[in-house]
Symmetry: C2
Subunit: 518 residues, 2 copies
């Protein structure tokens, strides 16, 4: 035993981090599997990089956000930091492997940001990203369109039909708009950042920021307004193409042509209906060079601000009862509101070249915010009061025994039958007791949500038979007491019953997910 | 673009870490999946803890090895360190969740040790552990036996039949032996550590360490020898039970009784044949309190030392040719030699209590060294020259097009057909080129090891048909040129051909794995 053994510990996880267990871990795992399956369906191959990188690799990639990077202590040797995202490690890998000229890679892993956490909304200091990126020189917009098809496929398979929207814009169009409007070259990025806030604040506030904080001419701001509030799809594209001032600008013209190709390809991929060409989307990161996108859902925007003063007034008057107050608290803690975007990405053609100028490899990709997707999914499932369907484990069968006077507990027999099930690939458990009582065993099976009991009775087993009982059958069901099966056919019997049950269950869950309001 | 953009970078991963990509990542993923499936089959539920813990949680748990812990820099706020294993975080979680009185949890994640790396043998500073632990108070040896059944199941499913051995011993038996032999109480742990080296050095060296370094009486050491060199199963147990001096010792008696139960249960679980009751197994970690075990394979021991002077002599004589030298180098770098144990664990009943004395929860568990298992598996597959079966991705079909003069490239048609395949859950790719040449498209499919081509011709497509061609068919095969199918039945057609092919492939791979000498 160690010498500095202390009687008490600060028993917690570090700030902004949490443990994942039980049904939460299982639900999140299912989200991972769904996303990974879509990635693989599109030819994605896994890349796994170390959780920390040499600090110089991360330096100068994240602008102001660099202050959020976790550093490892200098314990002699190299100076390292925890990764901030999965994109920079991917670019570093491409630069290190110059023989790889093209690649579809996916990476599902944790990243680290010393930001202010908001645990209930899934904003953590340690959180998962699920990234898919296509690197390589190809004909314009083809991989870009496939990435958006992937985005759409992921949310369709998660059961979010019609409850998500993919906002798309193009850096070249934006830059062209700013040039046409007369934004000085050195103000383009700051003004672009201001435009990006249009999903959080009204135009009047954004204009104020442009003019008062960033010193933009008011008339220029007013001209920007005529462009950036527009949304649409092919209609918006046609309208912009008729703007001769805009099409005379080389950057805007190139961007609009690419946007035209993208819309064509998205139509061929059958995913145009969830796309919104949104001129206000600008994205914060500097490294994007082409198409940019962001996926939003109902709760992405912060709660309406106009209601806040109202609520304060009511609270000050002291007339609200406690339950009402709690409701308000619940609302501000609602994990489905103010989560921001749930996936985002774009084209970044120059990042790999930052590591190795001769290895310039254009890239386009997307990152899914799984913790946010998880928070929304879980809240919606709980709201639908279907929480009982979220099981903690996936065990198929509980092997139990019963007997009269002189009952030995049949431990080795239960072990032997469990062995038969395991050998057949069936997930099985039994009680770790020499002489468990039958009600205890049933309770364990019920609590685990285990669908089948395999019941050993002394006389039946002596005749080479055991009883298979589906849990939770209603009274009066012909198989309520289970059915006797030969031990030699037990595994097949359980398997075929599981297959039948799973078909029914999948149908129920699918129906349920589709019914979930996201 | 950032200001401190540098033209050159130290393009590498930190010391002792590496990237995983391509077929390596795929093979490792399969190992993970195999292990996780076994864990789930035994009712394991996932637990995911943060990659770093408050430093005080890790303090005093690892003895001398604490110096290998990676610390995070103090950037204001909490003082944290990267986890060193998955066991201590599990114990911390149990102490934090006192309502959970029993649990089967598995955890597959990276751990961090600032140790001297040996990359070719899979000894890294960042590496994966796959842990399964059973927490809770149960009847003796039942969960312990199930953990060993799990160990056996994992290696059987990995295709290592008869190529692994599970060494088992019991701390109480060892302690009893040391007491009976007359080892002073304060020397029991150091003498136990010396015994544990018997897998790396002969008894004479171990005795020397006991007597000369650790000051043990020579006669006591000689008496220890009569016990610790013994191996067996039930025969050894019977022999020890007949030793009246030993059975008169309370600790030894209790340990032998438990070992008897364990052997009975392992027999019921059908896994006794791979078990070796090995009196020399002691395990380094202090926290084990009961049964301990370690899985070894042929290459676990270091290369035979006796051959080293011989090799040196030959080298000194200068008569060895270069190729011979290279062979020797290859041998010393052989990833299948000197890897040590590939899985290990035991019972630790007091660890949770170190965090919260009132929450004493007995535990038993095992940790698989996946990187070592990977290194051995990969080396054996390569040695069998079946490397071509290790694909980089898992794509099912490559959608391609061809045409004569005026060929448009049929990009949107290829997109549309890919969409049909994706919608049916089929993994599909196509060339990101407007007008790709047919040989280029075939080459891409071949390089990816993609089993099927879906070929679009203008006339055939106009008639609502496409061609499905299995790649790699021999000349003269009736379907060498593919078969024409209706677009409406394409997905079903590809699916049924995939199912047929996968059945054949799985049989081939299984045969191959079973033939691999591990």
């Amino acid at each position: 035993m160690p010498k500095d053994n202390k009687a008490t510990f600060n028993l917690k996880t570090p700030k902004g981090t949490k443990d994942w267990s039980g049904s939460d871990a299982l639900l999140r795992d299912r989200i991972f599997t769904t996303i990974a399956n879509v990635f693989k369906r599109h030819g994605g191959t896994a890349l796994d990089t170390p959780v920390f990188e040499l600090r110089e690799i991360l330096a100068g990639k994240y602008g102001e956000d660099s202050k959020l990077i976790y550093d490892l202590q200098d314990q002699g040797g190299e100076i390292c930091s925890l990764r901030y995202d999965l994109t920079v490690p991917f670019a570093r890998w491409l630069a290190m492997n110059p023989d790889v000229r093209s690649m579809k890679r996916y990476h599902i892993a944790k990243v680290y940001r010393r930001d202010q956490p908001a645990v209930s909304k899934g904003r953590m200091r340690e959180f998962y990203q699920c990234d898919f990126d296509i690197a390589g020189t190809f004909d314009p917009m083809v991989p870009d369109a496939e990435v958006l098809r992937i985005v759409s496929e992921v949310f369709e398979e998660l059961g979010w039909q019609n409850r998500y929207s993919i906002k798309v814009n193009h850096r070249k169009i934006l830059d062209g708009v700013f040039q046409v409007c007369g934004v000085p070259e050195d103000k383009i990025r700051p003004i672009s950042s201001a435009v990006d806030k249009l999903d959080k604040m009204p135009w009047a506030d954004v204009r104020k920021e442009m003019v008062e904080e960033k010193g933009l001419d008011g008339a220029v701001a007013d001209k920007i307004e005529t462009f950036v509030l527009q949304k649409g799809t092919r209609d918006l594209l046609e309208k912009l193409l008729q703007n001769e001032e805009l099409t005379a600008n080389a950057s805007a013209k190139a961007g609009l042509e690419e946007m035209g190709l993208l819309i064509d390809y998205l139509e061929a991929f059958g995913v145009l209906e969830n796309i919104s060409f949104d001129m206000s989307l600008a994205r914060g990161l500097d490294y994007y060079t082409g198409v940019i996108y962001e996926v939003v859902t109902e709760g992405s925007a912060p709660p309406a601000q106009s209601s806040a003063p109202e609520a304060q007034k009511v609270q000050k008057s002291g007339k609200k009862d406690k339950s009402k107050n709690l409701e308000d608290d619940d609302r501000s803690n609602d994990p489905t509101l103010g989560v921001g975007s749930i996936a985002a990405g774009g084209r970044y053609d120059n990042l790999v070249g930052m590591f190795l100028p001769k290895a310039q490899i254009p890239c386009v990709g997307v990152s899914f915010g799984v913790d946010r997707i998880f928070s929304i999914t879980k809240a919606r499932i709980e709201r639908d009061q279907s929480a009982e369907t979220l099981r903690h484990s996936e065990v198929d069968a509980f092997v139990m025994a019963f007997g009269g006077k002189g009952f030995t507990g049949m431990l080795k027999e239960r072990m032997d039958v469990s062995k038969i099930l395991w050998n057949a690939g069936i997930k099985a458990e039994f009680a770790y007791k020499l002489k468990p009582k039958l009600p205890q065993q049933f309770k364990a099976a019920e609590q685990g949500g285990i669908p089948f009991a395999v019941i050993l009775g002394e006389e039946e087993l002596a005749a080479g038979k055991v009883r298979v009982k589906e849990m939770g059958l209603p009274d009066g069901h012909p198989e309520k007491e289970g059915v006797l099966v030969e031990l030699t056919t037990l595994a097949d019997e359980v398997k075929s019953r599981l297959a039948k049950k799973q078909t029914v269950d999948v149908a129920a869950v699918t129906q349920q997910l589709e019914g979930v309001e996201v």
